[in-house]
Amino acid sequence: MRYLAVLALSILFPAAAAAAPHALTEEEEFFSLERASLEEVLDIKTTVASRTGMKLRETPGLVTVITREEIQASGARSLVDVLSLVPEFEFGMDVQGNLGLGVRGNWANEGKVLLRWDGQIYNEILYSTIQFDRFPVDQIEEIQIIKGPGSAVYGGFAELAVIDIQTRTPKSLDGSSVYAAGGLGGSESSYAGYSFGKAGAGADFSAQAFWGASRRSGRRYTDFAGSSYSMEGNSDLRPKSLNLRAAAHNTSARLILDDFSMRQRDNVDGVVLSTGATTVRFPVLFAEIARSIKLPGAVTLEPRLSYMRSRPWYENDEHFPYDKRATRLTLGLTAFYRPSSRADYLAGGEYCHDDAEIGSLTSDAAAAYSGVRRDGAHYDNHAFFGQGAFDLDFAKVIAGVRYGRHSHYGGSLVPRVAVTRLWNDFNFKAIYSQAFRAPAIENIRLNPGIDPEKAVSTEFEAGYKASDTLFFSGNLFHTTIKRPIVFTVVNGEETYLNYDRTGTLGGGFGVKYKSKGLRADLNYLYQNTHFNRVDIYAVPGSGSYMLAFPRHKLTLNSSLPLAAGLSLNPSAVHVSKRYSYGGGGTLKVFGERTTVNLNLQLKGRPLARLTLNLGVRDIFNSNYSYLQPYDGGHAPLPAPARELFLKAVYEF
């Protein structure tokens, strides 16, 4: 309670701390706008330092940035479409129609990938899963992906990757934007949204509303016993959200109301429900207030107070009745200190209080906590982190550490060290980091003795800027996960256990070309494993494979200008063969697949500020399916077939 009072005071009453506003001055804004204009006119790129003074080529992580322009041009219908173009990512099938993410061949569904949407953590806190179908892509301004551990700064969900998504700022909106889309075939995706934003005189406000309706697929799902159903009408995906932001001077507040539901008939164990489809819901509310306080001596403080209330996996039927309310209260304080251009520091602390309350319709089997039925659960977590970046003559060195202490499973300490160097047109990075996955509320319920799992990762990257229009990069990685937390069934009872170890190694390369309107981004990843000890992830007889994930993945995202305002935007994903289980415990090989998409984009015609998109997703009907990355009894879930997709965006 004392923490709450102190933080609330420092946020709301800046006299308590020596406050000096640090909004962008008129002149800084002028030079920033002029720089952007000049870069566009002259078709050149200059690196603008990030908040902590690090440029993309020096950032201590292998980072992918996906811009709004790229997302819109690609004709992506959803975040799944966008992330599929990242070679390190591959979607797999979890349960009840929910897709999870694999990172570099490691199944990362529960608590191994952190997803932030405008700073709010969208990993639900019961199982730590993410529902990737709920996000409105047309609200996105930029996605930054750290393709590697990020726990030293971001905490216990960031074991293998961080996906940080920023929506359109009030300034970039500067008025209203309305959009609508519809698809024929495939996912039959349709959605509409309205966004409004205004900024000026030290204040800003935005409101973004979204409604969507689509389906996982229109194809047929067949379980291992041979029962099947058409996914048309039985795999509905229904997201809707309202995202409000208000800021004045250095204080900002955000409120997000988000509800998402999935309809499915493949249930938890993959067996087709004979009584028809059922619906699982994921309603959530986020509220946050934060402030930036500039102190004398180049120190900036950022206190933050956040509240999340959710009801993940809510299901009211006879198959798996489940109703648990999960809330999280977070108090955070981060300090930034930049004494000179050659050093900067950040340090901070965070306190989280988690609560789980059991609703009456939850089955007894799913309700027991701490040996006492229907009692709910309460946990506290304290974390402290720090990072320093030092610009030495020969290289830039970044070192960070995070210590977290959980009221149930104790403490975790994870360090991170990175060395980056820019040398003329070359850049080099070497990163060593440890990260952890924190057991979630339901993990602890099913096994109170569960421990956090820990990842140790080594990464290298080299890049070469051949010209202002052409850039090459290559990378190597080695990730070991010790004591991985794995869902399993022991003596008929569901539980989570810490296994021995798993992990992957590999490498990739990328080529980026951009000149005026022509853009091409080609990326490749290779991964395998020789040290996986989790038998339910393994491919018997092919020890270097992990279930469901390809050894090779190649992606292309490009844009070809055809005429003023008109561009053709092809994208493609090629995956090599994958393994998954078929019926009767047999292993099945899924051959290589290439998914090709085309999107025609017309800007400013026939109306100024109108953008039209006409695209075809999966032109050649690749017959792709999402595979389950563990031996869980779930048959492959068909992905959408070919789809004709039309979208209109109008700004005013």
């Binding site: 002028f30 030079f31 002029e34 006119v41 002259l42 200059t46 330092a49």
Partner: protein, 290 residues
């Protein structure tokens, strides 16, 4: 639409002279901030309402009968306008309309003062100044620094012009300047001017007692010992004067260096660099940062 632009629009509609053929219109890179400040000064100096368009909303379609467009910022200047329309462009540091790219007259209002006046002022601030290093990055500046060399020679100054390939090269470039220069000048180059670059330059200046000079009030606030430049308001007023001259049939140079300059000083930076401002300089300064 904010209140100021709404008011301007209302005035425009009410004034009987407002739409007199709309021979003169203005285009702003963004309807706010420094651009609006300069346009407001332009409007006040010009004396008749001029409609403005916001280039950030998309390409501007000039109303029929437009004979002269005044643009504020690079985005507005680079849009391209119908053949025969004269263009006066200001607030576009580092951008120059290519010869032949524009069939009407194209006149730039510079954000710099003339080389001779600027260098004379620097000598007045720092009488011991003999060697000056100029840092730049925007490609368009290439042909203009010759004028600084000539003006410097006339004043007994040795001018070294150093191209910066990227802000990350600044530390290495600055180290080579130690012992070879008495001061550094930073033009209003948007590709080079940022809070991080200014921090690097300020640190270097303080650590080596080599004064840093700039061109804007913000550069002085961020640690330049002094800045000699043109304020946003003066840019607008100079544009208005140029419009009146063109309408009177006068011939104008391709680049106009405004006569009214703005001198801003930073006392603590000067102290760290061993500079002492004369009483005349202190009286002349528009701003003195502590």
């Amino acid at each position: 639409m904010n209140f100021r632009s709404l008011l301007a629009a209302a005035l425009l509609c009410l004034s009987p002279a407002a739409h007199a053929g709309e021979e003169v219109v203005a285009v702003l890179s963004s309807a706010g901030g420094a651009y609006l400040e300069a346009f407001s000064a332009f409007q006040a100096s010009y004396g008749a309402p001029v409609r403005y368009f916001d280039a950030s909303k998309g390409k501007t379609n000039l109303p029929p009968g437009t004979k002269l467009v005044v643009t504020f910022g690079t985005r507005a200047a680079a849009q391209g306008y119908p053949p025969g329309v004269d263009q006066i462009y200001c607030m576009a540091p580092g951008f120059f309309l290519a010869p032949g790219a524009h069939s009407g007259k194209a006149i730039k209002i510079s954000m710099r003062v003339s080389p001779a006046r600027m260098l004379s002022k620097l000598i007045e601030i720092q009488p011991s100044l003999k060697r000056l290093r100029i840092l730049w990055m925007s490609p368009a500046y290439t042909s203009f620094f010759e004028a600084y060399g000539e003006a410097g020679r006339a004043l007994g100054l040795e001018i070294a012009v150093v191209k910066v390939a990227g802000p990350d090269q600044l530390p290495a470039l600055l180290r080579t300047a130690i012992g070879r220069t008495d001061a550094i000048w930073l033009p209003p180059d948007p590709l080079l001017v940022s809070s991080d670059s200014l921090m690097i330059l300020r640190q270097f200046a303080w650590n080596n007692s080599i004064p840093l000079y700039g061109t804007t009030k913000g550069m002085s606030r961020e640690g330049a010992c002094a800045s000699v430049g043109v304020s946003f308001a003066e840019s607008g007023a100079s544009a208005a004067a140029a419009v009146r001259s063109l309408q009177a049939g006068e011939s104008l140079p391709k680049i106009i260096f405004p006569e009214v300059t703005e001198l801003t000083l930073n006392a603590s930076s000067a102290k760290r660099c061993g500079l002492r401002f004369s009483p005349e300089i202190l009286r002349e300064a528009a701003y003195l940062f502590p």
